[in-house]
Symmetry: C2
Subunit: 470 residues, 2 copies
């Protein structure tokens, strides 16, 4: 059965909602009087359709259509979810909500994207207040899971429950905000940082870029996985949250920020926070939490490294600085590394795909050694792997150091054959072998062709040396 979502207001936020619903199989109807709305929605949908499916290993639902309709009534007719994302003016929102309720199904979820208004404010004067709540998402709506779901006392419990269910079904996390306040939760925190950041820029202490670097190379990485309180719990070490509070509580009274109206640091407040932190994380010891934090940070940093972005770019540069040229021995030692935590699978050992990656890294090292390096690739030449046979001889686990030795077993013209052996560094045990057959290609034609002379000579030299050492 087709499920229908009505999107009222097709700006960046409304379009993000539209894209997420459509990619999760809903039929989407958008109403926005802006003549540019259709183009803007199509642009957001292009972005979303490129990346949202990348999050999943599972097949995606059949994509729903997004239709821009010319009347609000047409949009909301038969809709199960109605999302209001018009500009942040209370009178406008009241008008739009009245028009929605004039024709929409009485049991539909009617949610507002407002970042500031309380649901009870939106419900004022409404025909059916019980249907209305806040569902405040975060940009980009098609990737970030958080939705602050804020009902008021007048909101209907069944509709709230249905809203939570639907948000979960489209891959979001409904954070049920139990007490309505201006700006809900996240935007209060954002507002506090924003204000402090503006002071720093205004006073000439730091530029926008320096402030961004202070965030993304430091606490931003912690917050992406644990947030504020659990991070501090870990920082408190063996003594836990109470110790952290005792140590850092007094700083609240210091003139560290421009604004020093602070909550009084009473025993009752310490108890409240420490008890909540215990309820949240107390089932895990401090060593477990440290391990979780560190594994997550490694995984995030390695993901950013693969993208060559943010803190990952720093590590990529450092990695290059740490790397020396290969020693010209037979066989070549092409890889020496630790197995990272993001390489293990359900069986608790290194996933078989990662063996292929290690051998691919080994041949890339060999490429640099024979002169088929990044500059050579940039100039339009490369070797592509045509066939590999991998034998898996022993398991290996995160944290173990492995090495790969590589021999050129055949190298004539456009053909290159390598024999890799992966060893456990601790005892030299052979973990896997790889027989790899590569073809030299032109990156322009994507077809095979002979390598340039200096590479051809290096291959022949290695083939001879490795055959002699056999």
């Amino acid at each position: 059965m087709t499920r229908i979502a009505a999107i009222i207001g097709g700006g960046v936020i409304g379009a993000g909602w539209a894209a997420r619903f459509a990619l999760m199989g809903w039929e989407v109807r958008v109403f926005d009087p802006d003549p540019d709305a259709e183009r803007k929605i199509a642009e957001v949908m292009t972005n979303a359709a490129r990346v949202l499916p990348m999050l999943y290993e599972a097949p995606m639902p059949r994509r729903g259509a997004i239709t821009c309709v010319t009347t609000l009534a047409e949009a909301v007719s038969g809709a199960e979810w109605i999302q209001e994302s018009v500009p942040e003016r209370r009178d406008l929102k009241h008008r739009v909500i009245a028009e929605i309720q004039a024709t929409c199904p009485g049991d539909a979820v009617l949610a507002s994207s407002t970042s500031g208004f309380k649901p009870s404010e939106l419900q004022q004067g409404a025909a059916r207040p019980s249907q209305i709540m806040v569902a405040h998402p975060f940009n980009p709506v098609y990737l970030l899971p958080l939705v602050e779901l804020v009902p008021s006392a007048a909101s209907d419990a069944d509709i709230i429950a249905r809203a939570r269910q639907i948000l979960t079904e489209i891959g979001m996390y409904p954070l049920h905000v139990r007490a309505e306040i201006d700006a809900h939760i996240a935007d209060r925190l954002l507002e506090a940082v924003w204000r402090e950041a503006l002071w720093l820029v205004r006073d000439g202490i730091a530029t926008t870029e320096e402030i961004d670097n202070a965030i993304r190379y430091g606490f931003g990485l912690r917050w992406a996985q644990m947030g504020l309180f659990e991070t501090y719990r870990v920082a408190g070490g063996e003594a836990g949250m109470r110790h952290f509070l005792a140590q850092f509580g007094p700083c609240l009274q210091w003139p560290w920020t421009r604004l020093t109206d602070v909550p009084e640091f009473t025993d009752a407040l310490v108890d409240l926070i420490a008890d909540q932190s215990d309820a949240q994380s107390g089932h895990l010891g401090i060593r477990d939490l440290e391990r979780l934090r560190d594994d997550n940070l490694v995984a995030i940093l390695r993901a950013l490294k693969q993208q060559g972005a943010a803190a990952g770019k720093l590590i990529l540069d450092h990695d290059i600085a740490l790397r020396g040229p290969l020693r010209d021995e037979a066989p070549l030692v092409t890889v020496r590394r630790v197995v990272p935590v993001d390489w293990t699978d359900i069986n608790g050992h290194m996933n078989e795909g990662r063996y292929g990656q290690v051998f691919s890294d080994a041949s890339e090292e060999l490429m640099t050694h024979i002169g088929a390096d990044r500059a050579y690739v940039a100039a339009g030449h490369s070797y592509f792997t045509a066939e590999t046979t991998i034998k898996y001889l022993a398991e290996t686990h995160a944290g173990e150091t492995i090495t790969v030795t590589t021999r050129v077993t055949a190298g004539q013209g456009r053909k290159l054959r390598l024999w890799h052996e992966m060893h456990r560094a601790a005892d030299g045990a052979v973990l896997a072998t790889c027989n790899q057959f590569l073809l030299h290609v032109s990156l322009e034609t994507r077809r095979s062709c002979p390598p340039l002379p200096h590479v051809a000579e290096a291959v022949e030299r290695l083939a001879a040396a490795h055959a002699a050492a056999d």
Copy 2:
């Protein structure tokens, strides 16, 4: 030549410094009168040695020794870098710095980990103020790259330059803070959030866990890769930073937070921020920035998914919900997915290792289908891959939809042979084939053994059906 780092104060921060220096090949001497210091440092070093090398594909330097010494003079003698991480009391820091300078080399970097004091405060009454600066790191010091490097006007330019160089060499990012203020930059932002979070908890609006979720499922993910201002620049859309400021500037005057002493939102401030943002990101169009942001978010979310942590856990659960049982056809369609951005390599196409991962995922789907599912693995049985031969027939790229068809070509006793074909969904072209040989194992003995009857029967049934359809 051995390079020596002296760590004065071996708490969580000092121990983190010690671990990072040692893992980057420095000899480390720690002075801390706490009798428990040696144990605590060893614990931090165990954590650090497990994870820091996982960030690198390159071989790590030969690890340096960490020695706990009994006098401060012994620690600093011959040291090139001296890091003071004693408790945050100014009188104590003055005493320790005086003792350090009584014996340390005159050209060593003498850096304080202080999160609050200005370098000029630490320099007061010092024998050689020019040697002293702040190098404020973030926990865990062995993983997070950020160091706020804060000199005063009295600091020596050569020593500052050397400090930046050394921090880069040990894999950190020295953020040179040009104007000294209490708490530098990052902790002012952290303090603002902390204070606001305490109000939220105290007023009963949200628990510590709800606040953490509001961060890690939402803006924490944005900040891990772009920080605050570049994120808002992207949110401004085509109209850019000035548009964003015009739209959200007025919110500063709204009563969204408990503290409303805010900078005046003058034209001069708007110009300052917009110009700095142009200098930072103006070389990239808004579509480029959106793409960078989305690619980074996909990579971070997928990394967390692999860890089963934070926002990645949500996606993992959703992935399972999206997944239906395989249709019992011949061949089986075991994979249907989009190639994500974190799977491409220097040649711009899917890395050969990821082909192996896709085929591994295909066989895992088949496992579920034959009853060798997560519960079967949890009960101590599994199939391990013994050998794969992959033929790479055509390139594939991020964003393309691929499918894998799988046939059981042999299944008798403990042996299982699968034939996978990877197709491009758009035109059905065969991208790669995989001949995969697996052995059934006991996870207790890690040796091969026959599968349980229901699995053996399912394998035989599929082998017969797939042979018939051949």
